[in-house]
């Protein structure tokens, strides 16, 4: 096994520029419809290689772990298939993302197919029932923009909805309006992937002052909360008397009793059309 002297055999990277182009053709090109539906066989092989090379850090279903969630339609570091291939092969230098260059070009393209399949299905997967124009009217009359931004307009107390139609399927959007507290979104906080976003936290300081705000960031020693007026409060946790994280609460109330079923369809239809620019790296 030992070769002595000259060092281990040099292995050249398996993917040539030509090969990358060939793979690109197999995959969905940015902004275009899929060239062809991925075959079941490719997906299965892709999943197998993904499990061996990526699941350790990204989770088998892409929900994340040591690495970020890949079950998202917007991967800021891999907005198109070319960048996805580059990242898979070479990793992201300076981070824990190491390249899996041992995968052959064909295997890489299969993994890429599997990774893209992890994204929550967009609105195209369910037949559109509501009327987006009426939905826009409801969005305005209910003044959803008190807490949401679209295309840079509105107030950003809740998630930006500019591209929510790309990131989320319709069932998720419906749930989000009916039962916001059921599951807080994850993955956008400044802390780390997989932390709950928009978490409400109540603190009491040593003078007895109480404050409830939305968690913007946290570490072992400090926590940063945003109050109802958008002001930032920073606390040194060891000095607090109380710190309560309210996981079963959301700043957004349920609109279950506000909208009829039909109105809800309209609203969801409108949200599904929000497919603006892909969010940058937060």
């Amino acid at each position: 096994m030992l070769t002595g002297g000259g060092g281990p055999g040099v292995r050249t990277g398996p993917v040539t520029g030509v090969a990358v182009l060939a793979i690109g053709a197999l995959l969905t090109l940015p902004g275009s419809a899929p060239a062809q539906a991925p075959s079941e066989h490719d997906l299965t092989r892709g999943r197998m290689h993904y499990i061996a090379s990526c699941a350790r850090c990204h989770g088998v279903e892409g929900a994340g772990g040591e690495g970020p969630s890949l079950a998202r339609s917007d991967l800021p570091r891999a907005p198109d298939d070319e960048s996805l291939m580059r990242i898979m092969r070479g990793g992201i230098s300076g981070t824990g993302m190491s390249g899996s260059w041992w995968l052959s070009p064909g295997e890489l393209s299969q993994v890429a197919l599997y990774v893209r399949s992890l994204a929550p299905s967009g609105p195209g997967d369910v037949e559109m029932v509501g009327d987006p124009a009426r939905g826009l009217g409801l969005f305005e009359s209910a003044r959803c923009s008190r807490c949401h931004t679209i295309g840079g307009f509105g107030t950003s107390r809740g998630p930006d909805l500019t591209s929510v139609g790309l990131r989320r399927g319709t069932s998720h959007l419906r749930e989000a309006v009916l039962d916001p507290a059921a599951a807080l979104p994850r993955g956008q906080t400044a802390i780390a992937p997989e932390f709950s976003d928009y978490l409400m936290v109540r603190v009491v300081d040593s003078d007895g002052n109480e404050m409830t705000g939305m968690r913007m960031n946290e570490d072992t020693y400090t926590i940063q909360l945003k109050d109802g007026r958008g002001r930032l409060h920073s606390y040194y946790k060891p000095a607090l008397v109380e710190l309560e994280k309210q996981f079963d609460r959301s700043l957004m109330r349920s609109y279950r009793d506000t909208f009829t079923d039909e109105e809800l369809d309209d609203l969801v239809a409108y949200l599904s059309t929000l497919r603006g620019s892909v969010r940058g790296i937060s």
């Binding site: 070769t3 061996a52 772990g65 824990g96 802390i191």
Partner: protein, 558 residues
């Protein structure tokens, strides 16, 4: 006995050093050796080394320096320096910051006679002026672009020093000896074939004329071993496989020819008892990681601690923590050697907080299991039997659909170091409180490719967190715990000043009161901490060294 080892003695080398002028090398070596009470091991035709073996044996008596990866051969990662203490730690200031090459920084620097030696990602060795952080030399081994690192990032944890040479293991699995003064390469030898996944990330262990190194690569299906090389020439002195071939003892614990790719890597630095002349080295997981079907049996000597005869590499004894592991719970964690009164008589012990969430106390002369208990949440075993073998619960194996088990595959702890405070008889352990859904998949061996057979989906975010736990070294009982926002990747160092230094993924460096766990100091370094703290003394000031992101920070009181 303990007081003698960590008493306030041993500052003499520091004073002598202050007088060293440039070019006074011969005087310097002689002075250092005299103070250390050592004889000069002169190799024929050569000047005596800067760091002879005896200085390494007596490392605890020169607290101004940090001579081995874990501080001493006993691997306590304890600094006898006490200038920084519970009363003044709040006054710590940054002396300087050194920015490394990009990548993850897991290095523990060494500081010897006015020079700091550290490694930068992936396998670069750098000598710095420890007063200013200015670079003296840098050695960047040339490595093929496609160098494999299957199952771990492209990191390096540090160098070893012996006589006038510095040793580093490289990502492409070579052991390289450098001239400590200039960084010039003296020799380089191939330890393993990187093309089939062998790699090196741990700091070598230098003992009497030998350099001991282990290999990584179980996720590529290597068959692991531990090697010893002649420190002068690089010639291999012995190799002991951690997975037995047919006919060798333990081979009946492997089904079929599964031993050929059975894993059992040796990727983290072991400890050493110079008197018993035994090396204690933790052995990694069997391969494939999560699919044990192809390797029925206990899979000796994976997930075990082995005592190797330092001269021959012969196994003196072994103790397997996790028979037939299917969760990737390597037993490569730092084995800490402690001498204690045990039930009325002095006994030489080795203790380990294992990745599998159990804490173990063994007799280090015989390997006898003396005590063990859980120190972190685990859901896979009902406990340990009288021999220390886990009583494994049913239905805790990975499955195709996924099976939730604590701890996660990164374990209740991992490569980052624990620290032992001999005065308090307390072991401080960085703990990862995290469960994972384990999956099993097919695994087919192909050379130089991942061979793992599954994966995990860890509970993350607000569902996982970390601790610094202070364990009674005899029992593993919890003395105190300090909670961390996320499961840590940074080691700990206790000091005679009554402090425990560590860091968080969010970039906090901290110092806790070693007796109570109360936090006495913290500093936002602005990037994840992922290495081990160490300490040294220079110009009469104790310095504490910790890394965050790509920056090595040095703190002191001034």
């Amino acid at each position: 006995m303990i007081a003698a080892r960590f008493g306030k003695k041993g500052h003499a080398p520091g004073r002598a050093r202050a007088r060293y002028g440039r070019g006074a090398a011969a005087v310097r070596w002689a002075a250092a050796a005299l103070v250390a009470g050592a004889t000069l091991p002169l190799a024929p035709g050569r000047l005596a080394g800067q760091v002879p073996y005896d200085r390494l044996v007596n490392a605890a008596s020169e607290p101004a320096h940090w001579l081995t990866y874990s501080g001493t051969y006993f691997a306590e990662r304890f600094s006898p320096l006490e200038q920084i203490d519970v009363g003044n730690v709040g006054e710590l200031r940054v002396d300087w910051v050194y920015q490394t090459s990009p990548g993850l920084v897991e290095t523990t620097p060494l500081v010897v006679d006015g020079v700091m030696y550290l490694t930068e990602p992936p396998s670069t060795v750098t000598a710095l002026d420890p007063r200013t952080g200015r670079r003296i030399w840098r050695y960047v081994p040339s490595m093929p672009d496609g160098t494999l690192n299957i199952g771990f990032p492209r990191v390096n944890r540090g160098v070893a020093i012996l006589d006038d040479m510095v040793y580093v293991g490289t990502l492409d699995a070579r052991l390289i000896a450098l001239d400590a003064e200039s960084g010039v390469e003296r020799w380089s030898t191939v330890v393993g074939d990187n093309a089939i996944g062998f790699s090196m990330t741990g700091a070598p262990l230098a003992i009497d004329g030998k350099v001991i190194v282990g290999v990584a690569g179980a996720e590529a299906g290597i068959r692991g071993y531990l090697d010893a090389y002649d420190a002068e020439t690089g010639e291999r002195l012995w190799r002991t496989f951690t997975v037995p071939a047919p006919g060798e003892p333990g081979s009946d614990t492997w089904g079929g020819d599964s031993w050929e790719h059975g894993g059992g890597s040796t990727w983290l630095t072991g400890s050493y008892d110079p008197e018993l002349h035994l090396i204690y080295w933790g052995i990694g997981n069997p391969a494939p990681d999560w699919n044990g079907d192809v390797r029925p049996g206990d899979n000796l000597f994976t997930c075990a601690l082995i005592a190797f005869d330092a001269d021959t590499g012969e196994m003196r004894w072994w103790f397997q923590f996790t028979p037939h592991d299917v969760h990737d719970w390597d037993a490569t964690e730092i084995p800490v050697l402690v001498d204690l009164d045990w039930e009325g008589s002095p006994r030489k012990l080795v203790v380990m907080a294992n990745r599998n969430a159990f804490y173990y106390v063994l007799d280090r002369e015989t390997g006898e299991f003396l005590h063990g208990q859980e120190y972190s949440k685990q859901t896979w075993a009902a406990g340990l039997d009288a021999n220390g073998r886990p009583i494994v619960l049913p239905d805790t194996e990975p499955t195709a659909e996924g099976n939730l088990v604590w701890p996660s595959l990164q374990g209740a702890t991992n490569w980052f170091s624990p620290s032992y405070h001999p005065g308090l008889e307390t072991l401080f352990v960085p703990v990862r409180h995290m469960g994972a859904v384990y999956y099993k998949a097919e695994a087919e061996y192909e050379p130089g490719r991942p061979y793992m057979g599954g994966g995990e989906q860890a509970l993350a975010g607000d569902d996982a967190w970390g601790y610094v736990k202070a364990l009674d070294v005899r029992t593993g009982d919890l003395r105190w715990e300090f909670q961390l926002l996320t499961p840590p990747w940074n080691g700990l160092m206790a000091t005679a000043g009554g402090l425990v230094f560590g860091g968080t993924n969010e970039g906090n460096f901290f110092a806790l009161d070693a007796e109570t766990g109360e936090s006495l100091w913290d500093f936002n370094a602005g990037a994840p901490t992922r290495s081990n703290p160490m300490a040294f003394e220079l110009d009469g000031r104790q310095r504490v060294v910790m890394s965050a992101g790509n920056a090595v920070f040095v703190f002191s009181l001034r």
